[in-house]
């Protein structure tokens, strides 16, 4: 179990209790966080669940794998801590995770 905070682009804040093993994208969709589209449903086949991981958490969530990097090429305004939220799995270590939703999805 981990508490995840999503900061939407308009500044609104969503705090969600996420189960271990679920993805950061799934929890965003379940809780209707605005700005996460997840067009492909979590197959790492689009770039519409793009988030910025808060700097303090970037090391814990880790770096994207090659396939995810490829998909990030299609995202809007990619930054050093950009991730596709469907590729971040929730664990106890991520309790308190903060992610920001970008201005737009690809």
């Amino acid at each position: 179990m981990a508490k995840i905070t999503y900061l939407a682009h308009d500044g609104s804040k969503f705090e969600v209790d996420a189960e271990n093993g679920s993805t950061v994208m799934e929890n965003a969709i379940k809780n209707a966080v605005p700005g996460i589209e997840a067009e492909c449903g979590g197959a790492c086949a689009c770039a519409t669940c793009h988030v910025y991981v808060d700097d303090a958490w970037a090391e814990k969530t880790g770096a994207p794998e090659a396939m995810e990097e490829d998909m990030l090429d299609f995202a809007y305004d990619v930054q050093p801590t950009s991730r596709l939220s469907c590729q971040i799995k929730v664990t106890d270590e991520l309790d308190g995770l903060v992610v920001r939703v970008p201005e737009r999805q690809a």
């Binding site: 086949a45 689009c46 995202a75 990619v78």
Partner: protein
Amino acid sequence: MTENSSPVETDVVIVGAGPVGLFAVFELGLLDLKCHLIDILDRAGGQCAELYPEKPIYDIPAWPEISGQGLTDRLMEQIAPFDPVFHFNRMVAAVEKQEDGSFIVTTDEDEKIHAKVVVIAAGGGSFQPKRPPVPGIEAYEDQSVFYSVRRMEEFRGHDILIVGGGDSALDWTLSLQPIANSVTLLHRRDAFRAAPDSVNKMKALVENGEMSLQLGQVTGLNGDDGQVTSANIKTNEGELTQIACTRVLPFFGLTMKLGPIADWGLNLEENLIPVDTEKFATSEPGIYAIGDINTYPGKLKLILSGFHEAALMAHAAKKHIAPDERIVFQYTTSSTSLQKKLGV
């Protein structure tokens, strides 16, 4: 096929060669209906082939785990006895109803197919190049911003900015470089998803000063009247700069759009086609819709639901085509006539 040739004759045109379109060939085939399939991709499988060929699917009955490509291959094997005809890399441009209730289906390459029934199994719509998330890019599309190269000559002598890091971006960089005034390849990072050979060739051109490679992202375009003059770039160091260009070719992958189906005069609900759950008929007699593209109370976007819809649709289509013929319901396990059709 030439433009004026007479249309190809068939019983059914299926729009979309994804899993549901493929299985429809089987169900229609058991009822002696021949099918032509039209798909914008260059191969069968639809989303299974394009989005998740390697990803396992766990909810296909009797297949505890099967990949998108594996499912497609199995379906192709299953429908082989019915000799479906595939038209790949094609989109349906028009569907015209004839006086006798049949249809002339015209592809975007002007091929014409005459069919008694049309089945829309188009899933989430057709895969089309994705518009990159650059504000205001619409104003330049088809004038100085293009998502594909139809005629290379239109790029001769231009200052071309190519955006992306996959095979399309690299291939067009190499093909257009000899005829362009200048070519700049812009990519987010110094790693490419393209064939290593193309990447090496591109890097050699950069080393010889014959083109340039920039790392960064497009944030905006400048120009007038649809004619781009430069692109605003944010480099990976966060620096803002501009690249002068008269043609921009962004390659940002594919997305699904309903496309011309929206213009066929069918009733639509939020880009889905409402159908009944007995025949899966649309608002236009003779046109059916199955799979992810349709909607009805309780609809679930599952491949297995699409298979069920294909079976019921096939019987309804048969009745539509041959209202006086008695359809005898049969099982493939026991019917010798069905087994003959399957060649077993």
